[in-house]
Symmetry: none
Subunit: 200 residues, 4 copies
């Protein structure tokens, strides 16, 4: 990679990082491109060399950040082989929840902007070369399990939606209860959902 390419990546990264910082602090709609470039220390025109508009950079961030959450969780899970399918799922969920609990601004950003569509896309067609294809991991986990599953996609969908919408309120506002209290209820429910989808 030449000196020029390195410089290009620097600018682009600076914009991404700055935008992420502002999106998580002030929200997407309250963040202007003017402010992003100012804080990133690049000229206004430079923004448009790399991104089409604010929503382009937002989507690229969402995809990348949620991919990374899963990547971290899966990397960690692989250090504990021999987990059952159910325990594997719970492990991943717990790991991601903990990451988000430690990074509340990331939680806000993702919750407010994630839809099942973007999410699925992010996990199956990672943009960045070091992102994972979670779908493959999920399928491997299912195949490695002795028990078979009915409608694994619906199951995943219900789990993802249940988890993401409940933890948002618990982590950020301790509503209706704080996270540590919610967790056992939540994992219990997740396990029930999985059990229901298992074919004997």
């Amino acid at each position: 990679m030449g000196k020029l390419d390195i410089n290009k990546k620097k600018k682009r990264d600076s914009l991404l990082n700055t935008a992420f910082g502002m999106f998580t602090t002030k929200g997407v709609s309250q963040t202007s491109i003017s402010e992003i470039v100012e804080r990133a220390g690049v000229a206004k025109g430079t923004f448009y060399l790399y991104f089409k508009d604010k929503y382009d950079i937002k989507n690229k961030l969402i995809s990348h950040k949620s991919s990374q959450l899963f990547k971290n969780a899966i990397d960690e899970m692989h250090k504990h082989p021999k987990l059952s399918f159910q325990d594997g799922i719970i492990f991943i969920i717990d790991n991601i929840i903990n990451q988000l609990n430690d990074n509340k601004s990331l939680l806000t950003f993702i919750s407010k902007n994630l839809s099942w569509g973007i999410f699925k896309n992010a996990l199956t067609s990672p943009e960045n070369e070091d992102d994972y294809n979670f779908k493959n991991v999920y399928e491997t986990m299912i195949n490695d399990s002795p028990k078979k599953l009915k409608d694994p996609e619906i199951m995943l969908f219900m789990i993802v939606e249940l988890v993401s919408s409940t933890i948002y309120s618990a982590i950020l506002y301790n509503e209706p209860v704080k996270l540590e209290i919610l967790k056992p209820y939540l994992y219990n429910t997740v396990k029930t959902i999985i059990t229901e989808h298992e074919i004997d």
Copy 2:
């Protein structure tokens, strides 16, 4: 109510109705106050006599509209006495889901702007005199049931979050499956959540 008061209410209602129409059609951020007042047929300044800003009118609409969803559902439920607690909850959920399925723009509007905080507030401190206090209804249902519940608020929270986040994607995008297919899975899960919270 004097003639003047009636006229006042007229302007305010006109603003509310117009704003609701535009919020559901074009989204909140794409709707300007200028456009609301123009279509409502009142002067710009008049808006500020009744609402602080765009977000004030938005929140008032959210509260009112979600209260009405529950009111409709509960009114309908009362026509079927003798429902068990579990069946009552499912009845309400199903009724609300059907209302939203018939009114997709309302679904979009509410989903994009509802938080557990606003929601709880809307159901316990109804703004409008003909809105209900759902909390009372819920407690009555619990008390009327022979079985006792552990942590009914957490349970309600989990149910509300699960339902609201899953149906959004199913109704609007048929993702991961369309509503009719999702429903049995969803109601099954809801029943499991309730069962888990029952004290023997």
Copy 3:
């Protein structure tokens, strides 16, 4: 006219006058709305209360200014009754040429932006109440003349185009000769054009 209406007219007129000054000095494309409002002493938003964009104000100015040229010329002509048709036309042309010779910036502005379409429209559908309908004047002149004309519109078109395109260069650049030298040739040619269109 109320105080408010007077104030409104003041703002609008201020914008028109300022824009005219800048269009004639720097040309339309080199003039920005930002600069117009700044010099007119009004806020940027005010511009958009009265005009759609720069081309809206430009066309309104062109129409009005060319109407006024004709109005002045015709008013002056009416002080000399008994002129023959040919002499009347020459009188009007000469008067307008002199007005433009005295106001070179107006000449530049009109020449660069006038098309036969806009011109015809300006003279037949005056925007301003004190502008004239030149078409009526022209027809009256024709009817009052003992000689009849073949294709009076084509004739007028040729005269207008010949005169307007030649004087531009003569007045502003003395090219190919200065105005006073061009005039006799020009009027001679105009008279010939008229003569050619007369029916014996």
Copy 4:
């Protein structure tokens, strides 16, 4: 011409051709240098190696294209020797009008950007080696004619201005009449102008 020189000429020609295409299609002010270089397949900086700015390339195009119009007309005229002076002028005019009628975008481009100054310059100091010096041709025509002319430059000026301004409107908008109807009137007037300038 070396290989390098040929390559140089290629880039320059590519820029000229692309610019011409865009100027005639979208107009000068709507065409950006960025777009020209992109379509021409050269780098941004390269543009500035050959042209000062957009107006430089525009003027060079105007000169060249109007020279070519005359060159074509004169070449064609030379195939018909023995034409009288008057008929020769009419022949050239008619030929150029027909070229422009067949190429309306060229007409628009030239009309909107031609001034007598640029025009005279283009015809007397051709930039390109294969362009003509029309002035010489004109003078030869005059000298070959038995009749002598008074003020031939003014005469030419009047003819050029009359023709160019009238055909623009007739060809593009059929205003006030379409070209074929205008032609006889126009050529009649041109002949009258010439006759008037002849010295008996």
